[in-house]
């Protein structure tokens, strides 16, 4: 961690100090064909403003979560496995952040994916955990396939057109401090648009964006520490990071940007609606993660990669904080059901405060971290609204999600912490965790308060601006629009107010069964039937199709083979019957053969020779 922070500080002070180191991973020598100069795939590191920002997140949150794990996981068996997998994850995540080319990026991208698979399935005895792990891997795999195809598209587009004689010789390395490749000659705009969309697909898989969002709430089957580290702060942010890196080094076409804005804006709203009704404390936070990732994607689509990353940075801290605070609660009371909790703030003052700070940051209340970054996003998108008329609806969606965000997170807080006592009296008495669990909460709370103010630190600001310059965008950081900020803060406060009215002080708001909103609530609780739909595709379409293919294989193809076998068998049975055992029959065959030979030699042979005149 210390190393990571040091590198980042170094980058803040003197950009470009850490030049990239690289080794050749796979080298194809020059040969005739599509790559006349041969090509190399390399593995190397690159530290630049973008990666140093991410590096801080990964190392700091990683360290704090590991510390917290000592307390949270102490009674679990399989601890060596847990720490090994977490360490592997951190190593892979660091590799991803430092990767200096797309292939290496993809390599570590897959590795963090598999670590996530292992860790979601950490309690593998639970069928739901095993199933969630598989689902997470499969859904992200769809994104990975798109991403891989995107890499191929970029590769072949730039194999001859890129700088330094093309990527082919250069091993698709991100060109350091160069402008995006987009305006380069030889780059076909259609291909680039498709490539950009494919990259978006990859990012959507990893960052759980619509319509590949289904896996993240289920991923909450893993330990809470895993959710905090992987499914809030780092791995899911890798998709956003990919988009940022791609927008800086590869560039997106306007169509791509619109698609990214659409996905981000829609997801931000869509996920927030589902969080509104969910009774599970971790899943509420998970939906909020999806929604916040949507904001980041939105910012990148609008062309402000560094703003997106800034939100990623602050979000990592306050979201990890929320998860760890939720972890404390779960650790104490042994349930994740909000409706069974209540009144916990009496026994868990620190946790309640930490959750509240995280909630305020998430809701975008100044001066907490979330306010600054979220406000920057809204401001930056607002400044680009003139680019395309279709930006408007997504801006509105994202804007209204602010209200929902504030509402659902404080609904959770009130349900868990306010009131006189647990609604379910069978819950064990709540207590705070050991110091190793409290320290990270305190540290992260501090970050959640001040991380947003970092933007006023010259070095940090420099970092952001530098990253923006890398992206080829003029270094005008979006000016905070005071009116816009006021509206969003008002929306946030309104959300909190609504939550207080409905759920505050131990109140439980229940919707009448006959209420006209009931169908909507059911729709939300069932997650818009997305998961059910995907399951149906898997179980009712793909699997029966596979069984049908199996049937064809066994009975049509192999049946033909067996049929041939029977045919030969029956044929030889018939042939066998001419072997009567009678000497005179055999003699007759001999004579017949002799006659046939005569006919062949004396009549057919000369005829053919005469006809075709062979030698």
């Amino acid at each position: 961690m210390v190393l990571g922070v040091l590198i980042a500080f170094g980058e803040m002070l003197s950009p470009g100090t850490y030049t990239n180191v690289q080794i050749t991973w796979l080298h194809l020598p020059p040969a005739p064909g599509p790559f006349p100069n041969g090509f190399s795939l390399v593995m190397g590191t690159l530290v630049d403003p973008i990666s140093s920002l991410m590096l801080v997140v990964v190392t700091v949150v990683g360290f704090l979560v590991m510390l917290y794990s000592i307390g949270y996981m102490h009674s679990d068996r399989g601890l060596p496995r847990y720490y090994a997998e977490m360490s592997l994850f951190l190593a892979a995540m660091t590799g991803l952040v430092l990767a200096n080319n797309l292939l290496e990026f993809f390599l570590f991208w897959e590795l963090v994916g598999v670590c996530s698979y292992f860790l979601i399935g950490f309690y593998y005895e639970k069928p739901s955990a095993a199933s969630a792990a598989k689902e997470a891997f499969l859904v992200t795999r769809i994104g990975d396939v798109l991403f891989l195809l995107g890499i191929f598209l970029y590769f072949s587009t730039y194999a001859t057109a890129g700088p330094d004689g093309g990527w082919a010789a250069n091993g698709f390395v991100f060109a350091h401090n160069s402008v995006p490749f987009l305006p380069l000659p030889g780059a076909n705009t259609t291909t680039l648009t498709i490539a950009g969309l494919l990259i978006l697909g990859g990012a959507a898989g990893k960052s759980a964006q619509f319509p590949l969002h289904v896996w993240l709430p289920d991923a909450m089957e893993g330990p809470t520490t895993v959710s905090a580290l992987i499914h809030a702060a780092t791995m899911v942010a890798a998709g956003v990071y990919l988009l940022a890196v791609a927008s800086v080094f590869l560039g997106f076409t306007p169509t791509d940007q619109l698609a990214i804005v659409a996905v981000g804006g829609f997801t931000a709203f869509f996920a927030a609606t589902m969080a509104v009704v969910h009774p599970d404390i971790k899943r509420v936070i998970a939906y909020s993660t999806i929604s916040q990732l949507g904001y980041m994607v939105l910012a990148i689509g609008a062309g402000f990669a560094m703003v997106g990353l800034y939100h990623l940075f602050t979000h990592a801290f306050f979201k990890a904080l929320l998860f760890l605070a939720a972890g404390s609660v779960i650790h104490a009371v042994g349930t994740q059901d909000l409706f069974r909790m209540g009144g916990l703030k009496k026994h868990m003052r620190l946790t309640a405060a930490a959750f509240a700070i995280g909630g305020l940051a998430l809701a975008g209340i100044p001066p907490f971290a979330g306010f600054w970054s979220k406000d920057d996003i809204l401001a930056s998108v607002y400044s680009q609204l003139g680019t395309h008329p279709l930006y408007w609806p997504f801006f509105v969606l994202a804007f209204s999600a602010v209200f929902l965000t504030a509402y659902y997170i404080f609904r959770a807080w009130f349900l868990a912490f306010s009131g006189d006592g647990p609604r379910d009296p069978t819950l064990p008495a709540a207590h705070e965790g050991p110091w190793v669990m409290q320290v990270p909460l305190v540290v992260l709370s501090a970050f959640a308060v001040v991380a947003g103010l970092f933007v006023f630190v010259p070095g940090f600001q420099h970092l952001l601006v530098q990253g923006t310059v890398l992206g080829g965008i003029p270094p005008t950081y979006p000016a905070t629009d005071l009116a816009l900020s006021s509206i969003s803060v008002a929306l946030g406060l309104g959300g909190i107010g609504l939550a207080w009215t409905l759920w505050g002080n131990g109140r439980v708001f229940s919707l009448a069964e006959t209420s006209p909103v009931q169908p909507l609530r059911r729709l939300l609780l069932n997650r818009y039937y997305f998961k059910a739909g995907y399951d149906a595709i898997g179980l009712r379409a793909v699997y029966p199709f596979a069984r049908a293919t199996d049937f064809v294989d066994r009975f049509v193809i192999d049946g033909t083979v067996r049929g041939l076998e029977r045919m030969f068998g029956a044929g030889s049975d018939r042939l066998r019957s001419i072997q009567s055992g009678l000497v005179s029959d055999y003699a007759a065959y001999v004579v017949a053969g002799l006659l046939a030979l005569f006919v062949l030699l004396l009549i057919v042979g000369p005829y053919l020779l005469g006809r075709f005149g062979g030698g």
Partner: protein, 105 residues
């Protein structure tokens, strides 16, 4: 000898082969079968003799030599054949080949 004479001799051989094959195809008695085989074989042996003499002297004595060897063969063949006849008779009480179908699968 002349061409005409050769044609005549070959005609004789052909007739003998025909008689032999007819016998082989129609007889069921093992001894008669053997006799038919011998007749057909003698036709072949006769052919060696004719061609050894046509045109005279060019082939040396190879035709005659083969003839002698073949006569030896024929003798051994008959000896084996008759032994089989005896064995068959002892086994089946008949020498009708239609009754000996043990080789059938």
């Amino acid at each position: 000898m002349t061409e005409l004479a050769l044609t005549g001799f070959l005609g004789l051989s052909a007739a003998l082969v025909g008689i032999g094959i007819f016998g082989i195809l129609t007889r069921r008695n093992f001894i008669l079968l053997l006799i038919s085989v011998e007749i057909a074989m003698n036709a072949a042996i006769l052919n060696f003799v004719y061609f050894a003499a046509f045109p005279s002297g060019t082939h040396g004595l190879s035709g005659q030599a083969i003839t002698v060897v073949l006569i030896g063969f024929a003798a051994t063949e008959v000896a084996v054949g008759l032994a089989i006849v005896l064995a068959l008779n002892r086994l089946k009480g008949t020498i009708n080949v239609a009754r000996a179908t043990e080789l059938k699968l």
